[in-house]
Every structure is written in C-alpha cells, then in structure tokens.
C-alpha cells in the first residue's frame, strides 16, 4: 500500500541524509547517532507518512544543493519534527 511505500522510501531517504551528515559532521561524531536515535523513537505512523516524506525530501535536497552551509539547520529541523512525533508518550497519572 501507499503507507508501506512511504515507509520504505522514507527509510531510504533518511539513510541518505545520515550518510551526508556522517560525511560532513566529522568534528561532532555524536550528531549522527543522536539523529538516528530520534528516528528510531519516532512513531511508526509518522515514519510512514507523506508529511515526513516532504520534510525529509526538502532537507535532503537543500543539504545537497547548498552543501554544508546550512546542514545543521536541516539536522535541527529533522530532530525537532521527529521529537514532536516521538512514539514515547508519558504515562497517564493514576487516579
């Protein structure tokens, strides 16, 4: 289905983005594992969504065309979006 297609495509794009980051954030090796961790904790519905596809595609395209000039801006944007859609939820308080 479409959702599965988005999931596979998003995983592929995210891997490409991580590779790009790995090549350009060598001075801060903690960045890539942090970004990967955010992705791993994102909700499965969001990871397979068109919304994430759009954000990821935009960040990747810009990071490629403008090189490392604004790379951290795009990394930060992705981290923020992934955090906002984290699968981790606070447990409701017991009565």
């Amino acid at each position: 289905g479409t959702r599965r297609t988005y999931k596979l495509e998003n995983e592929k794009l995210f891997t490409e983005f991580l590779e790009l980051c790995r090549a350009q954030t060598g001075e801060h090796p903690e960045v890539v594992p942090f970004l990967a961790g955010r992705f791993a904790r994102a909700g499965p519905a969001f990871v397979a969504s068109a919304e994430f596809r759009n954000v990821l595609g935009r960040c990747l395209a810009r990071a490629r065309t403008r090189h490392a000039k604004k790379l951290y801006v795009y990394i930060n944007e992705l981290c923020t979006v992934l955090k906002a859609h984290s699968a981790r939820r606070k447990l409701p308080l017991l009565p």
Partner: protein
C-alpha cells in the same frame, strides 16, 4: 577603506551556527539525563 574580516570561518552561516549550537546543547542535555 580596507575591509577587515573576523578570524572565524567566513563561510560559516549565522543561521547554521545557531542551529549547530542548539543541537549540540540538546545532545549534551540528553546525554546527561540518561
């Protein structure tokens, strides 16, 4: 009039510099909370 440049990396984008600082601080905060 001679134009002087900062010693910092001239190619460093201000927006990128701020984003980098925020991201590294967040990573640091996450590491210390684990």
């Amino acid at each position: 009039v001679p134009v002087t440049m900062d010693d910092d990396d001239d190619d460093d984008d201000p927006e990128n510099r701020i984003a980098k600082k925020m991201l590294l601080e967040e990573i640091k905060a996450n590491l210390s909370s684990d």
